[in-house]
């Protein structure tokens, strides 16, 4: 009974709560940007809003039409850079009949905020969060716009500067303004939390968290994996295992598979049987000649572009929109190149799932190596997975622009996949007190209602830091552990499907057993391939020679010899 209650509670926590079943939430995000592409900040904003609405439209200020707002229940305006809003847009946004949330620059052009005194302040790092009464100092600094409204208002967050408290996120009636224009940095946490008030949604109490055991691959030490996994499972923590099916050695290009490490397979199966959940952490976690765990797999970091060629080929350098005379010519060019990326990603993802299933594991989610992937890559990934762990690459042209939402979300970028964010980092053994760093991240994350406490841990460290990490996470009021098996997580390829159903893992594998085994035995490195080819040739000759022998034996009596005797 207690288990069932917990399951229901978890299900409740994991999925966006409808605000009003009778009136669906339609959100329109209007943004001003000098770029043609949607800015990463807008994607981030959309991801934050996705917690509250399934219907979100992103519209550039120059493209806003009256009918776009007709269905809207909530409107956002985000000013990424200083610009003059088109007159028609301004008029449409000036007297909205629904709540308006303005963020960043140009908001003084809107009627709702017309008389407000707005001041841009540079190098701000200290904030005050009104709801939790928490003072937070971030490592990085930002430019923010402080605001002094000319009407009664509620301050949700302020900056602290020279002992002065200056409002930066305010609410006047139903409208909100946030002077935080960089949504990729930590101050965006204040906006994330304020969305509960903006949408007037009561947050679920408490926080859900998870620990992911990271980078488990065929070179991992089975003893350490077992030790760390057992430690957590013994404490009823349903851990996530981020597993990479193939290890590639950067030094010589040799590959190692789980089939070469039976003890490790046994360990992983045992952990899964005890409640751990596997997520596919790529296939080799590397591209070209890099080492598994070190390399990027779904992003060509050397050229900072999507993977457009096989590892042994020289990729074309991706041209920008400006190199093409028309949008259609650019689209045609892009689609041709992205076909190669699609082939690559399809092969990697299906291989990863198939190989994990072949060794008896049941992946229920995906984590992109180093969280990097193109937006087209996410679309392809959504054909296989319903869940993604970690962070999202917000920019489609720069892998370094990445991050996460503080709570579980369904960013449109992920094409229906649910993002289980990693919010408090990991145990870094290269710093003196790694858990302190996580503690600070946790405190920051906790200012957001429903925020997820997501962490990862490398099993090669051993259990040394685990007690402290577990204690830290479990110290959060109303904390519960995420159990992916109680969600409707699903993983699917053309031949295999895995579904979580009532805590059970249901596998359907339509692959040929023989082919499946053969595929698993197929070597990866050139040397292994050469030796296998050699074995094949030799086997053919052995068969031929046996056949000749049998033929000659059968012909023996017919043959006449001129030799003596």
């Amino acid at each position: 009974m207690r288990y069932k209650c917990l399951t229901i509670l978890l299900l409740f926590l994991l999925f966006p709560t409808p605000i009003d079943a009778a009136k669906p939430t339609h959100v329109v995000i209007v943004y001003s940007s000098s770029q043609v592409e949607i800015p990463p900040d807008v994607y981030k904003l959309e991801a934050l809003v996705s917690r509250f609405s399934d219907e979100i439209k992103l519209i550039r200020d120059t493209n806003l039409q009256a009918d776009a707002l007709s269905e809207a229940s909530h409107i956002f305006y985000y000013g990424a850079s200083t610009s003059t809003l088109p007159k028609s847009t301004r008029e449409l946004l000036n007297h909205p009949s629904v709540p308006l949330y303005a963020i960043g620059q140009n908001s003084d052009q809107l009627a709702s905020f017309k008389g407000f005194e707005m001041t841009r302040v540079a190098r701000v790092s200290k904030f005050l969060h009104a709801r939790t009464d928490q003072s937070l100092s971030f490592d990085s600094t930002d430019v923010v716009t402080t605001v002094k409204p000319d009407a009664p208002s509620i301050t949700h967050a302020s900056v602290v500067r020279n002992d002065k408290v200056l409002p930066v996120l305010i609410q006047t009636e139903d409208n909100f303004y946030a002077g935080i224009e960089n949504l990729l940095n930590r101050p965006s946490l204040f906006i994330a939390d304020s969305l509960f008030d903006f949408f007037d949604v009561e947050a679920a109490p408490g926080h859900v968290g998870y620990i992911r055991l990271e980078d488990i691959n065929p070179s991992s030490d089975p003893k350490l994996v077992k030790e760390v996994g057992t430690y957590l499972l013994d404490r009823r923590i349903p851990i996530i295992l981020a597993v990479i099916p193939v290890y590639t050695d950067a030094a010589n290009g040799d590959t190692l598979r789980f089939t070469d490490r039976p003890e490790l397979i046994d360990t992983l199966r045992e952990l899964e049987a005890r409640g751990a959940t596997v997520v596919a952490h790529g296939y080799t976690h590397q591209y070209r000649s890099s080492e598994t765990g070190e390399g990027f797999e779904f992003w060509d970091v050397e050229n900072n572009q999507p993977v457009l060629s096989q590892p042994d080929e020289t990729p074309p350098k991706l041209k920008g929109r400006e190199s093409f005379a028309s949008e259609s010519a650019y689209t045609l060019y892009l689609n041709t190149l992205l076909e190669k990326e699609a082939t690559y990603i399809h092969s990697k993802l299906s291989n990863s799932i198939h190989e994990l299933v072949s060794i008896g594991l049941h992946p229920l989610g995906f984590e992109a190596p180093h969280y990097t992937m193109s937006h087209s890559g996410y679309a392809l990934t959504s054909e296989y997975f319903t869940n993604v762990f970690g962070q999202v690459q917000w920019s489609n042209s720069n892998w370094e622009v990445m991050g996460s939402t503080p709570y579980v979300s369904k960013p449109s970028l992920l094409h229906g996949m649910t993002l289980y964010p990693e919010t408090i980092g990991y145990v870094r053994t290269d710093i003196p007190r790694p858990v302190d760093e996580m503690r600070q991240a946790l405190e920051e994350t906790l200012i957001v209602r429903e925020s997820m406490i997501g962490a990862f841990y490398h099993p090669y460290i051993g259990t040394e830091y685990l007690p402290e990490v577990v204690a830290l996470m479990e110290s959060v009021p109303g904390f519960t552990w995420l159990d992916l098996r109680t969600s409707d997580a699903r993983v699917r390829t053309t031949e295999v499907s895995i579904q979580a159903e009532d805590g059970m893992l249901v596998l359907e594998d339509n692959r040929s057993t023989v082919l499946n085994r053969l595929r698993l035995l197929m070597p990866q490195s050139f040397l292994e391939q050469a030796l296998t080819a050699l074995a094949g040739i030799t086997l053919l000759f052995v068969i031929a020679f046996l056949t000749y022998t049998l033929f000659l034996r059968a012909q023996r009596k017919k043959r006449l010899f001129k030799e003596r005797g």
Binding site: N252, L531, A535, I537, T538, F541, F545, R553, R559
Partner: protein, 415 residues
């Protein structure tokens, strides 16, 4: 480091094994086809050349009677046949026994080497025989050989029907194959050599090696070459290369069969094979120096094969075995995957099946006794070769360093 060395040894070993598979395939095809033209060729056997059969003999009293008895039965026009038993410094009854045959058969002659040629080994005795002979075609048999009646006829047939053949090589079989375990092993080895190395190379590359016995060569060629190389321990291999250099090829024609005696004790075998190995090493080193100046590129390939056999292959095997043994006691980081184990098993199966094919070709040889001998052979006789090659290499290095004289060991015979 260990993995790199292991890979190197693997390449050395498998290059040879792949080549042998290829040869075996050729050998089998040659067996299936070599008899087809004999009927046609027989029609041209009208104007036969005069043949001189040279039999160098040094203390061969145990076997010489059987040899000459077989010679007396040779089916070849007697007016065009002279058999020269070259008595080289024998201190036993060789000359005496031979003379009784010479007295009885006018085409058998006994010639005794004179001081300039005497006691210097087989090459020298052959050169003396050459000076005493009158035939247009020279046929050489060892003193323990008993050729089949039509052996000489078939050798000549090969020469008459192949104008490009400078020499024709026949097949030899072991007469004492079932005397001891050693002779059984040698018998299997011999059959393999015939059908894999000789027939296989002939089928693919038109190359065969003169084996020292049971071959015919045109007199004009041996005269042009200035006779046999008296320094060479493996005078046959050496002669082979020089014949090719003149632009001729050497035909392997298994219809010409001789039977010969093989060592029945390990010590005799050891001496004989050491001489062969050293002889081949000498030839390899002699011609490796002029490898790229050799005109016939086919033979360059063959020399390279010898170089592989006597140097690289054995080095590869020794290296591989050493790494394997060291790895049993010390962790040298050798990452031997499952595939190498599969290859090891396949190498054994390959050996066994290759031998089975050759034994099946010789109708009576694929029997249960030989079946088990083949399996035993892989783990014993074949491995003994490794030790032998190392030993002979050591002797060759010593000979070169200390400028020692070459000594030709005569193989002991058994009654």
């Amino acid at each position: 480091m260990a993995n790199g060395l292991f890979l190197f040894s693997l390449i050395m070993i498998w290059t040879m094994l792949l080549y042998h598979m290829f040869l075996m395939q050729g050998g089998f095809w040659h067996f299936m086809t070599y008899q087809a033209p004999i009927a046609d060729w027989s029609k041209k056997m009208t104007d036969l050349p005069k043949v001189s059969v040279l039999i160098p003999a040094h203390n061969e009293e145990v076997v010489v009677a059987a040899t000459l008895r077989a010679m007396s039965r040779i089916e070849y026009p007697k007016d065009k046949l002279e058999i020269l038993l070259i008595n080289d410094n024998s201190s036993d009854r060789t000359g005496e026994i031979a003379q009784t045959f010479a007295d009885k058969f006018p085409f058998i002659h006994v010639v005794k080497t004179t001081p300039a040629f005497a006691g210097k080994g087989k090459s020298s005795a052959l050169n003396f025989g050459l000076s005493q002979s009158t035939g247009d075609v020279l046929v050489v048999y060892d003193a323990d050989n008993t050729p089949e009646k039509d052996g000489v006829y078939h050798l000549v047939m090969g020469l008459l029907n192949d104008s490009k053949a400078g020499a024709v090589v026949g097949k030899f079989r072991v007469i004492n194959a079932y005397e001891t375990l050693l002779t059984r092993l040698i018998n299997i080895e011999t059959i393999c050599f015939q059908w894999m190395a000789q027939a296989g190379r002939w089928k693919w590359f038109k190359i065969a090696t003169i084996p020292g016995t049971n071959f015919a060569i045109r007199r004009s060629i041996i005269e042009e070459l200035g006779g046999w190389d008296e320094k060479a321990l493996a005078e046959d291999t050496e002669l082979t290369i020089r014949v090719y250099e003149l632009g001729w090829h050497i035909r392997f024609f298994p219809a010409a069969v001789t039977w010969e005696q093989e060592p029945q004790t390990l010590s005799v075998w050891w001496k004989q094979r050491t001489r062969w190995a050293r002889g081949n090493q000498y030839v390899v080193l002699k011609f490796m120096r002029q490898l790229f100046s050799l005109k016939r590129k086919k033979i360059v390939f063959d020399i390279f094969y010898f170089f592989f056999t006597y140097f690289l292959f054995f080095f590869g095997v020794i290296l591989s075995n050493s790494l394997f043994v060291i790895n049993l006691f010390v962790d040298i980081g050798l990452e031997v995957g499952n595939i190498t184990l599969v290859l090891w098993i396949l190498a054994f199966l390959l050996f066994v099946t290759e031998v089975f094919v050759t034994l099946s070709i010789e109708r009576s040889e694929f029997n249960s006794q030989n079946f088990f001998t083949v399996i035993l052979m892989y783990f014993t006789y074949s491995q003994l070769w490794i030790v032998l090659v190392i030993y002979s290499l050591y002797l060759e290095i010593k000979r070169v360093l200390f400028k020692q004289e070459v000594r030709w060991y005569k193989t002991d015979r058994f009654g």
